[in-house]
Symmetry: C2
DNA sequence: ACAGCGAAATTGTGATCACATAGCCTGTGC
DNA sequence: GCACAGGCTATGTGATCACAATTTCGCTGT
């Protein structure tokens, strides 16, 4: 379920992955949350994750603790851990926060056209469209995330960006269940406008495109 | 240094030592950061904290991991942990984020006048003024934090509030060093206007007062 | 067949140990 | 006097063990 790349055999440090085992675990869980492989309400156990990833429970404890600090995972009163369930109030707040922060990041990013790299962005959008047609929700979520954060990362933000990353971790699992119900075909994003804004170097247009894209995803939920 | 017993002054609720040792450790460190007892650049070691608090390094590891996830503590490339140092860019972003989120929380809070409790809020502001005159930066920071979050908590926010808490953890240690240099006497907040707005039940006025208060603290830094 | 109870398994928490590495300090040679 | 090398210490990381609380499952009695 969570295997990532090369075999996790002992003695094979897997040069590609960086640093500590804890970081690998955290990356794996983040990826699972962002692509919707972890469904809301799903129980997450330390030993379970540990054995899935072939590591001891120790690094899992720290990774899970780190994620639950940002409400990407939920620690229930009895101590058990699970993927948070969504409520109407929480979703409304997440969308409010997104509309406040993400357009701001987009506007900041417009100051660094080289980092924005319109061609790379357009290529990502193509992959988004492909997966939309294919109806593969997991792939769609991966590339949609990549598209957005390709823009946001260009802002070179140290503060807003981590906040937004947390927000995505919080609503991604829920979105996956929505796509499971209504499918992905009905989605129409505003990525094209964003790409054009990047090509034009129009910061305000980029901000608007991002805001429109977020609102668009929101409307999907009224059904 | 980190004791959180009866010695702590009023206004320092410190979450009444619930449950796990890890939570106690995390609360203690949060409190130390928010009141400026942890100065930027200060080294934080697991064993050091553990012995200070009289616990084993294990719960400290998780508490520190949790805090570093929100950039309240910084894990350096070599693995060492320290209170983050402030940069101009980071500070600018934090203030931008505060101006985006905190007025929003204030406006949301206006929907719950009972929770806002104008009298309690005014009492907190009195304590803020007292400590401003006394020049006790640590007490001032404690009550200023209590004042703001008394308002914010009334919003019953589940998403924005944790984000703002993280922001405060990030800039509080730096503010302490500023107060150490310029003193607290020169501070003029907009708390009175906020209290009045609460009494009037004027959401827009409350939002403006909070925004003005944040901008005010920002101007202090240009010197 | 079903409700109630008790044993067993699961799970998070905390402690202790082992280890590799990065700092730091001291001692030595120039 | 100063630069450098050596060992020594401090520190984070990961593993394993013990334990209490909770859940879960199976058994029993009616």
């Amino acid at each position: 379920m969570l295997e990532q790349g090369a075999g996790s055999g002992p003695g094979a440090p897997v040069a590609a992955v960086r640093g500590s085992i804890r970081d690998r675990v955290e990356s794996a869980v983040r990826e699972a949350l962002l692509t919707g492989r972890f469904v809301p309400g799903r129980a997450v156990t330390l030993r379970g994750l540990a054995s899935e990833l072939g590591v001891s429970p120790m690094p899992v404890r720290e990774a899970v603790r780190s994620l639950s600090a940002g409400h990407a995972l939920e620690v229930r009163p009895n101590g058990r851990i699970q993927v948070p369930t969504m409520t109407e109030a929480r979703l409304a707040e997440i969308l409010k926060a997104r509309l406040l922060l993400e357009p701001e990041l987009a506007e900041m990013a417009a100051s660094y056209p080289a980092d924005l790299d319109a061609d790379a962005l357009a290529a990502l959008d193509d992959r988004v469209d492909e997966s939309l047609i294919g109806g593969d929700a997991e792939t769609y979520m991966r590339f949609n995330h990549a598209f957005h954060f390709h823009i946001y990362r260009a802002s070179r933000s140290e503060v807003l960006l981590p906040l937004v990353e947390n927000l995505w971790l919080q609503f991604a699992p829920f979105m996956r269940t929505v796509y499971g119900r209504v499918g992905t075909a009905a989605l129409d994003d505003h990525h094209k406008e964003a790409v054009q804004a990047v090509r034009d170097g129009d910061a305000e247009a980029l901000r608007s495109a991002v805001a429109a894209d977020i609102r668009c995803g929101m409307e999907l939920l009224d059904r």
